[in-house]
């Protein structure tokens, strides 16, 4: 079978190419239905990665967040027609110590291999997770991967941070901040949850939080037990240093924001306060499974996430894909979803 793969060949230009897939092989074939655009995709699309990286990675199909329908499973694990979320991390080995998303040998869709912008995605059984019917919103399900990254961070935080979790602070008023804060609200319902950002309108979306603060007007004596950095980019350093200022001794700073360049951190205070800095990136199968369970058990989480669904763009050809990416650039907050035909 000749599978259409929609690759980014250079910034802002997609072209269709084909790969050969066979029905006799072991692979499961999934038909993508709803795909969600991430900032990492935008960095490729807009040519914001370095020239070397672009030269090395393109042409490549983008998108690592998406759901689909199983069409063909020779192993019989999945029935044709089952709705699944696709896991972009593709490990090639197992370690008892290092999680699959930190193994340097793992591949990742839309980064080191073709992403989900394909007619069919050929995958292994352990790279898809069933979506129960109780999660009725396909648009929300489409960005499960991004929320699973926050879920992964919180799982690691839960295992490693000290037990006092009375006041938790999230720095960042964007999507990552919203997802992290929402999961914290669900997993630590009794904690005081504070959000720190720059845009009061965006901060207004965090209706489930106990308090929101503009980062330039944080009371000096305000202290959190643990802090979550969800900003990244050029501001990451300022944010981490602000968390250092407002965190209790022995607290954990979890970093979720991606920076392109090295970030100066005031390590003297990290040492003086005995802080832990927890880096987290991407997610693995257990995180997807845990999150899907959390969605099923907490329908209000899905309901809050519905607010984050931005434009839903039908994509029938490369022209539509360009439209979706351009609309995504202009969005304020939320996720742009491609309804994949």
């Amino acid at each position: 079978m000749l599978n259409a793969v929609y690759q980014l060949v250079r910034p802002r230009q997609f072209e269709v190419t084909f790969s050969e897939l066979g029905l006799n092989e072991d692979a499961i074939l999934v038909r993508p239905t709803f795909l969600s655009i991430c900032n990492a995709d935008q960095r490729y699309y807009q040519g914001k990665r370095s020239e070397d990286i672009l030269r090395q990675k393109l042409p490549m199909a983008l998108i690592h967040e998406g759901i689909g329908t199983v069409l063909h499973d020779p192993s019989g694990t999945y029935a044709a027609g089952e709705k699944v979320v696709m896991i972009p991390n593709v490990p090639s080995e197992h370690s008892d110590v290092i999680a699959e998303n930190y193994l340097r040998s793992s591949l990742f869709r839309g980064s080191s291999m073709d992403g989900f912008m394909q007619e069919y995605v050929s995958t292994r059984a352990d790279r898809i997770v069933r979506i129960p019917d109780t999660i009725g919103n396909d648009h929300v399900a489409a960005f499960t991967e991004m929320v699973s990254v926050c879920y992964h961070c919180l799982s690691r935080f839960d295992r490693t941070a000290h037990a006092k979790r009375e006041t938790l602070g999230v720095w960042g008023d964007g999507n990552m901040g919203y997802f992290t804060a929402l999961l914290l609200r669900t997993l630590y319902p009794d904690a005081t949850l504070l959000i720190f950002g720059v845009d009061m309108e965006k901060l207004g979306n965090f209706s489930f939080a106990d308090g929101v603060y503009n980062v330039s007007r944080i009371p000096k004596d305000l202290l959190v037990d643990h802090g979550f950095e969800c900003v990244g980019g050029n501001a990451a350093g300022q944010v981490i240093n602000q968390i250092i200022d407002h965190i209790q001794p022995e607290g954990t700073i979890a970093i979720l924001g991606v920076s392109e360049d090295p970030v100066p951190i005031f390590t003297r205070m990290v040492l003086e306060k005995g802080l832990r800095i927890l880096g987290t990136s991407r997610s693995g199968r257990t995180d997807f499974e845990g999150l899907v369970r959390l969605y099923a058990e907490n329908p209000e989480v899905v309901s809050y996430l519905e607010k984050m669904v931005g434009a839903v763009v039908p994509v029938r050809d490369v022209k539509d894909a360009v439209t979706a990416f351009e609309m995504d650039i202009r969005k304020g907050m939320g996720k742009t979803i491609m309804e994949w035909y």
Binding site: M1, L2, A4, G22, L23, H72, R316, D317
Partner: protein, 239 residues
């Protein structure tokens, strides 16, 4: 909803394929014959009750053999003998459905050239949807070249406005019973000018809806097309 049948037309005897020994549907792209690539798109689509493969009489056994080899687990493939013309071949498929007792007002056929292996899931999906909704549909792409009409084959009689011109591809999809009845209602003279199945409906003033095709949905007709197909697959081509 009625049953939907794939009708894959493998009628070509390969006369235009240079010195190739086999009809073009049996030539290989990548690791499989062109026809297998095409049929896999139908087999994997959950909408089809059966996929009827219409082959020239001399190639029926060969077709069965390669289906057994490449698609051993596909249980809904049926190889039938084609007719003298494209439309007679389609009628053979409809007669088969009728003989199964499955032909009713809602039965849909999605007819497709076996030599168009780049057909996409979306194109198949929209053919089924629009055939159900409108009774008939044709897959097309906007004409990229200006179309020149020469009724005497020597001088231009008209140059139609390109924005209304399209290039026909396949699939072409129909309510099977309606297509058969309309075809049977044509005179011999009307039948003699038919170039494809949609024209049966157009001649009788029936609505035929347009489905957006793809430039890549090429027909493997000439040796050059194999080169293009290999290039679309990112494979090295000979020569």
């Amino acid at each position: 909803m009625g049953k939907v049948y794939g009708v894959v037309l493998a009628g070509g005897i390969g006369s235009r394929m240079g010195n190739a020994e086999k009809p073009k549907q049996f030539l290989e792209i990548g690791s499989r014959p062109v026809m297998i690539h095409t049929l896999e798109k139908f087999v994997i689509h959950p909408g089809f009750e059966e996929i009827l493969v219409l082959s020239p009489k001399a190639w029926v056994s060969y077709t069965r053999d390669i289906l057994k080899k490449y698609l051993p687990s596909a249980s809904n493939l049926v190889v039938l003998e084609g007719g003298a013309t494209r439309n007679e071949t389609i009628m053979n498929a409809i007669r088969y459905i009728e003989a199964q007792g499955a032909l009713d007002e809602e039965t849909i056929i999605v007819t497709h050239d076996s030599v168009r292996p780049f057909v996409t899931h979306r194109i198949l999906e929209e053919n089924i949807r629009y055939a159900i909704q409108y009774g008939a549909c044709d897959t097309v792409i906007p004409a990229s070249d200006t179309i020149v009409q020469a009724l005497d084959n020597e001088s231009i009689s008209d140059i139609p406005d390109r924005k209304y011109m399209y290039q026909g591809q396949t699939p072409q999809s129909f309510h099977a019973k309606k297509l058969k009845e309309t075809y049977e209602g044509l005179t011999e003279q009307e039948r003699s000018i038919l170039t494809d199945a949609c024209k049966i409906m157009v001649l009788k003033g029936e609505h035929v809806h347009l489905v957006q095709g793809e430039v890549s949905n090429i027909k493997i007709t000439y040796p050059y097309d194999i080169t293009v197909a290999q290039a679309l697959l990112g494979l090295e081509t000979e020569g």
